[in-house]
């Protein structure tokens, strides 16, 4: 017997700090605030009415996660594409889908954004280039495809895929990151890490401590972002969106947040959460965080916040009135739209 000493190449990961500067104007701060408060006000009202069984089906709300769609969508126009998830109401609001159309869709009305054929998990708008899907991980390659089209057509639009930490364990996440990287597509992957896939903790389902690490396997830059800080989300997204528009390729934003809502209303008892965890995150509520930051930076005052909240309540109330005055669809509508020309 003889002993042989062999040497192998091995790789190890190293994290480093990335410094990005943010310019926050009063106008920008109030725009963030308006988006988050509008989404929160709408969701609160939907929750109240859902609990009295006014709507059919399930309802997935995203209380506490509003900073992510608000911060990212601040950088997008109607020419940019967004794919969102089953928890898509705040994203739809931030991408500019009409409130009354969203509400009417949840009530199965003819004037719903999808004419009552989608419901709350599948809000969509072709004019706003917005699509939500109820299949976890399903929207990720679709966003990469929109980005491929923008590149092929020479449009300077970008595509954004929003998805959760649960979706990061789907094959589509890994395939899409690889595809986007090899083709240098103008797409931003926005991972909303709310730490739970329904009841399953990320730490129990995911072999890496942070999904940002996984981007390294696809030669893609990634930033870990405080997802409850809208200024941080916006700043990171600005970096990602701008480099995508410049043709420098895709990136991953791993936004750490927490779902203060149950996975779905009424059904989910949230027994999987350790005691005190939710209370801790309630203190990090992104709306309150922005209020504190804006006051500290002398960009806005309590009066501004009260005024915006009142405006949001009015907008939501009016939207409900319009939505609920819309009729239910005629049964024949069920047989349309399977194919074109029908």
């Amino acid at each position: 017997m003889s002993r042989v000493l062999l040497s192998f190449k091995s790789y190890s990961l190293a994290e480093r700090e990335e410094k990005l500067e943010a310019e926050v104007t009063r106008e920008l701060a109030l725009s963030f605030y308006r988006k988050m408060v509008l989404a929160r006000t709408l969701e609160d009202e939907l929750k109240r009415r859902y609990e009295s069984f006014e709507m059919r089906g399930e309802l997935h709300l995203g209380r506490g996660q509003e900073a992510i769609p608000a911060g990212v969508c601040e950088l997008l126009s109607d020419r940019d594409f967004v794919s969102a998830t089953h928890r898509c109401i705040a994203h739809a609001v931030c991408k500019g889908l009409p409130l009354d159309g969203i509400i009417a869709e949840l009530y199965g009305r003819a004037s719903g954004v999808c004419r009552g054929k989608g419901g709350h998990m599948h809000l969509a708008s072709s004019s706003k280039r917005f699509l939500a899907t109820g299949i976890v991980g399903g929207g990720i390659p679709i966003a990469a495809g929109a980005a491929l089209a923008f590149k092929t057509l020479g449009e300077d639009s970008v595509a954004v895929a929003f998805f959760g930490d649960g979706a990061a364990n789907q094959g589509t996440f890994h395939e899409s990151l690889n595809l986007a990287s090899i083709y240098r597509l103008p797409v931003v992957f926005v991972l909303e890490d709310n730490q739970y896939a329904f009841s399953t903790r990320r730490s129990e389902s995911t072999a890496v401590e942070s999904n940002a690490i996984r981007a390294l396997g696809y030669s893609m830059p990634a930033l870990e972002v405080d997802g409850n800080d809208v200024i941080a989300v916006y700043t990171a997204a600005k970096w990602a969106v701008e480099r995508a528009r410049r043709g420098e390729g895709p990136s991953l934003l791993d936004c750490k947040t927490y779902r203060l809502s149950p996975h779905l209303e009424i059904v989910d008892t949230e027994e999987y959460r350790p005691e005190g965890e939710k209370e801790k995150w309630e203190k990090l509520d992104p709306i309150r965080r922005l209020e504190e930051q804006a006051v500290e930076l002398k960009l806005a005052s309590k009066e501004d916040f009260e005024q915006i909240k009142a405006e949001a309540r009015k907008l939501v109330e009016e939207a409900f009135q319009r939505a609920l005055s819309s009729p239910l669809p005629a049964p024949e509508e069920a047989f349309r739209d399977i194919f074109s020309g029908e």
Binding site: F81, S83, G112, V113, C114, R115, G116, K117, G118, H122, A124, S125, S126, S127, R129, L131, T133, I135, G138, I140, P141, I142, A143, A144, G145, A146, A147, L148, A149, F150, K151, T152, L153, S157, A159, G171, T172, E175, S176, N178, L179, I182, Y183, R336, D337, I338, F339, S340
Partner: protein, 335 residues
Amino acid sequence: MPREIAMWEAINEAIRQEMERDSRIIVLGEDIGKMGGAFWCTQGLLEQFGSSRVIDTPISEAGFIGMAIGAALVGLRPIVELQFVDFFGVAWDQIYNHLAKLRYMSGGQFKLPVVIRAPVGGGYGDAAQHSQVLYSIFAHIPGLKVVAPSNPYDAKGLLISSIRCDDPVVFLEHKLLYGLFYLPPGSFGEVPEEPYELPLGEARIAAEGEDITIVGAAYTAYLAEKAADRLREQGVSAEVIDLRTLVPLDKHALRKSVEKTGRLLVVDEDYLPYGLTGEVIATIAEDAEAFKALKAPPARVGNPGVPVPFSEPLEKAVLPSEDKIVKEALKLVEA
């Protein structure tokens, strides 16, 4: 000017001519660029149209079919090649939950002009994961059109129509019809050089007859035509219906023919349970006139529900053939 070409050449020509006409068309799939496709159908496209429109992909079917969907949502018209239809499984969610449904679920807002081309079929010893046709799996899902040509003329016209269609089309090409030297017999025929469309949803009467209606699609239509020639020699006049498209299904042509012949034999290479043969027979059973015209219970030839085996005698025992069609047809006529 018609000239005789193989089915793979007709497919290649259809894609090329459509890409010349419409710059929104892109092609993506595994080995479709430099290699020109595992079954040759995309040869020359990379050289002519460049790598921004002819895109070699990694082996990530869910990823690149999802990308085709996203590209279609914002204005492109992608043609995806799935190297073998059997590989659809890893991408099925993108196909049946997204591609097929997004038009409907969005209330008709989105168009999904995506063609998924896929080689299908067995009979050459490739075993159970490379020999399926899977027609009924696709045809079962609302929102997908399903096309299965049996010859070069139909392949070119139907593919051009599929590319121009604003709905998703699953275009299934039988490997034994491509006309590749290593996959006999191949289908060769006269094909006009200029582009032309054939309507999706119209069957072709491949042979006219009085005694029995034999229905097939793609390779089983090809086999049925050969079987009809042999039946004719034995004094049986068989009408052969080549379905050409499985969705939409040409129910009118089926009913009209059965009303004339009174006998129905349906041939399919797919698994018989819950499949195309049952659908065709139900189409007749549900129609008072056609049902009344039946002189004998309908019969079917197909894979009885067996994974396609490798060894030749085993594979032959499972798949439809000219002999099996002739035998079943004679039984029906003599009944």
